[in-house]
Symmetry: none
Subunit: 250 residues, 2 copies
DNA sequence: TTTATTTTGGTTGATTTTGATTGATTTTGA
DNA sequence: TCAAAATCAATCAAAATCAACCAAAATAAA
């Protein structure tokens, strides 16, 4: 069977069932597991579907389903630890910027008692903030469905109207030489703008993100503090040549 | 079963029953207790539900929304009719402003096929728009918890960056002499600004709002079209002296 | 035809997910 | 209050799935 015919069959099946297992695709196409695996990877890189463990799903499958799935489960405990450390830096009455992303999201329960004002570009953050009775402003902008983040010129523009005591950013990766990285240039712009309007900037990243780069936009943050889990002592030293590091205790 | 399929089933069950026990989710998904436990933890970290001892419940905000929903069921049918009429005015490729509020919210399902771009200041609108795969921009601003609307100078400011083909507003009341009214001055500012940036403005209001004023801020909309249900012919005549009226057929 | 190149399917060990079990914690009911 | 029952987080081994590799088959180029 022609490769493209397989693609068509897979996409038809996916459209019908919303999510498919590798086995389903094997039956329909009579191809081997390896081939289906490759096909799904290809189709994902074309932006036609999203790979998940065991198969694939359509891109926009209601809000119920979560595109942030894998990211959030694996390192949740680390994220929470880091978020606690970050939240402890917040003072009564501070005006904060909270970047969209799962790590900063974990900070919110710990901000409940602090009477802060929060500006965010994360959709799920708004809901969590309101649940905790926190005074909330939203940046404007284009709604990125996949991450639930507001981005674009409108988001950047709207941040210009604020000044923050502290700015908390999530990073997709951090690297001794390159600094912080994030895959989406639009989100990078928002992060950078927020950092520029804050007295102090913190970057939250768990160990899994160390030295991970892939197709990343480098975030040029001069005076940000990295908050992460325990790092080998020598690595901390190397990293702190350029920026300061806060370590979340185990 | 695929992880995401389990997530969907759990969320469906939860939406239906508002709160579920681990056992319920086990039956529906045929998965083990451990797996369900992990799923609930994941879904909570994504802000999709709240874990409680023994199971999970829907978010507090959703509960509130539901009670709001029940409140509004009284006029829901009217709202839907009006929303359909309004949605029919929308053309392929239009750029729309959708005001926060339950009536404009009902328009969204009918916009699905039209390839429009929507700007809104309503939080619940965003979710509905994304569910329907509609390209969405959010105004910035302060998040009013009670109504889920973005308001304030930031909201007004951000609207200045857009131009709309059509602007759809909800009104709290309309009156032959006074025109449209709305109780919150901040929301009124947003409405008025949006109208000023639109080629055509429509006000959606069901009969229950006729001549209702209370402590209302008058909305000075010169060239807006009122969309409402059937009105006595003479009232329409009087009303149309100053503005045009579209009547939703029974 | 023969020779490259691509595609395929099977195999490998690594990783992730799962379900069962543990002892700790919380809730229940007396 | 206490103790039994239920639920919990943490851990572990088995099962499922994964990416990476390689050789055979299919295709394209010479």
């Amino acid at each position: 069977m022609l490769t493209t015919d397989r693609y068509v069959k897979i996409m038809q099946l996916l459209e019908e069932k919303q999510s498919i297992k590798i086995q389903d695709a094997m039956e329909v196409t009579k191809a081997s597991e390896s081939t289906i695996r490759r096909d799904l990877t290809d189709l994902e890189s074309q932006g036609k579907l999203v790979r998940i463990h065991g198969g694939a799903t359509v891109l926009e499958r209601k809000l119920q389903e979560c595109s942030v799935k894998e990211k959030s489960t694996k390192n949740l405990q680390e994220k929470i630890k880091i978020a606690q450390v970050a939240a402890n830096l917040v003072h009564e009455g501070d005006c904060l910027f909270l970047d969209a992303g799962t790590t900063t999201l974990q900070m919110i329960p710990y901000l409940k008692e602090k009477e802060v004002v929060v500006v965010t570009n994360g959709l799920s953050h708004v809901e969590a903030l309101m649940q905790n009775g926190i005074s909330t402003y939203l940046t404007g902008g284009y709604m990125k469905e996949k991450t639930g983040a507001l981005v674009g010129v409108q988001a950047v523009q709207s941040i210009h109207h604020y000044r923050f005591d502290k700015c908390f950013l999530g990073a997709n990766g951090f690297h001794v030489k390159l600094g912080y990285t994030t895959p989406d240039p639009e989100e990078a712009m928002v992060k950078k703008t927020a950092a520029n309007h804050a007295l102090q900037t913190y970057v939250l990243a768990d160990q899994s993100k160390k030295s991970k780069i892939s197709f990343a936009k480098v975030l040029d943050l001069q005076e940000a503090t990295l908050i992460t889990e325990e790092l080998p002592q020598d690595e901390i030293k190397r990293f702190t040549k350029e920026t300061s590091v806060k370590v979340a205790e185990q």
